[in-house]
Assembly symmetry: C2
Homo-oligomer: 205 residues x 2
C-alpha cells in the first residue's frame, strides 16, 4: 500500500490526499509536525527525504517521490485527471508550474507565517511584495475562471486540485476571497465533487 | 513553424532553445528586452501573454503555451528526453518542479539582479537568504551527481536541460561552482552533447 509522509497543515500534502480520495485509493498516513522540526531529524533526513520536506509518497517497494505536483502526475497517469489531448495536458502542466512559482510562495507562505511565533526581519521585509504577488495570482485565476468552469478543458484536472489546495484556505493568510467571485464559485464546484475530503481531515486533534 | 517569444538573457528561454536544438526542430525567434519593459506593453499583454512573461511558445495555429518547464514537457512528449518508465519519469518531474521552487528563485534571481541598476530594500533584505538557499540547491545537485552521470536514469532528460540552464551561468550571480565538482563535470557532459547551442547564441549584439 502507498504511504504518504505529510504534515496535516500542508496544502502541498492536501493536494495528494485530495487526489487519492477522488481516486478512491487507500494509503497509510504518517504525520510529522514541521513546526516541531520533525522533518529535520537525522532519521527523517536519512530515511525519508534528505531535502527535509514533506509531502513524500512512498511506494509499496520503498521507493519515494518528492514534490507534490510531481506526485500528482505520477498517481494520475492514465486517468481523466490528466487530459489526453496534448495541448490541454500542456496547459495543465503550465498551471502546475505556475502554482509552484507564482502562487504557493505568496499565498501558502503568508498562511504558513501566521503559524510562526514571530517573523524574522527578512520575512517582514517581504510581507508587502508577497501580498501583492499573491493578489496578482488570484487575479489571474479569476480572469480564467470567469470564462471557464475549470482551469483547463471541460472538467476537473490536476490543475484544479493543485491550485485549490492553498487557494481555498487563502483567507488563513488574510487574503479576502470575496474580491474573486469566480474563484469562489470554482472552490464550491470542487468541494461538491464526489469523494471530496477536507484539508482538516487528517488533523491530529 | 513554431515561434518562441523570449529574451536572449533568459535561462528559462534557453531551456527551450536548447531542447529545440537537441531535437533539430527549426523555429522563429522573437526577442523582447525584459529590462526595457517590452513584455509589459499593452500589445504584449493582449496578444502574447497576459502574465507579462517570457518565454512563450506559439504553435503554427497561434495557440500559445507559457511556463518553460511545461513547454519542455509538451515538446519532448514521445521522445527519449522524457523517460518511458513511469517512476523515472516522475523523478524527472520532481526535478522540474524543484527547479522552479528551490533553484530558479535563488540562482536565477541573483544573476538577474546583477543586471538591475540598483536593488530595492526588499531585494537587499533577501540577498543572504537567497544566497544560502541557492547554495543548498547546488549542494543537493552535487549529492545526486556525485553518484550518477545524469539527474535521473541512464541518459540526459528534461531534468538535465531544465537544471542546466541557470546552473551553468550561476557564476554570473556570484556562485562559486568550484565547490561543486560533480556539478561542473555534469555541465561539461551536457555541453558536449550533439547539437548543443550556447545561451548567448541568440544575443542581439
Amino acid at each position: 500500500m502507498l504511504t504518504l509522509h505529510d504534515d496535516p497543515i500542508s496544502g502541498n500534502g492536501f493536494k495528494i490526499r485530495l487526489l487519492l480520495a477522488f481516486m478512491g485509493t487507500p494509503y497509510h498516513y504518517n504525520a510529522y509536525d514541521i513546526l516541531k522540526g520533525e522533518t529535520h531529524t537525522p532519521e527523517f533526513l536519512s530515511t525519508i527525504n534528505p531535502g527535509g520536506r514533506i509531502p513524500v509518497l512512498e511506494l509499496d517497494d520503498g521507493r519515494r517521490l518528492v514534490e507534490s505536483n510531481a506526485v500528482l502526475t505520477y498517481l494520475a497517469e492514465g486517468t481523466s485527471w490528466i487530459p489526453s489531448d496534448p495541448f490541454t495536458k500542456a496547459q495543465m502542466m503550465s498551471w502546475l508550474f505556475w502554482e509552484q512559482y507564482s502562487h504557493e510562495p505568496n499565498i501558502a507562505t503568508l498562511r504558513f507565517w501566521k503559524h510562526l511565533p514571530e517573523l524574522s526581519d527578512v520575512q517582514k521585509a517581504q510581507l508587502l511584495s508577497k501580498r501583492s504577488a499573491g493578489e496578482a495570482a488570484l487575479a489571474l485565476m479569476e480572469m480564467q475562471l470567469s470564462h471557464t468552469d475549470w482551469l483547463v478543458g471541460n472538467g476537473p484536472t490536476l490543475a484544479d486540485i493543485a491550485l485549490y489546495a492553498y487557494t481555498h484556505v487563502a483567507e488563513e493568510g488574510d487574503y479576502d476571497l470575496s474580491s474573486y467571485p469566480a474563484v469562489q464559485a470554482w472552490i464550491s464546484r470542487i468541494a461538491a465533487l464526489p469523494n471530496y475530503v477536507s484539508i482538516t481531515d487528517k488533523d491530529r486533534d
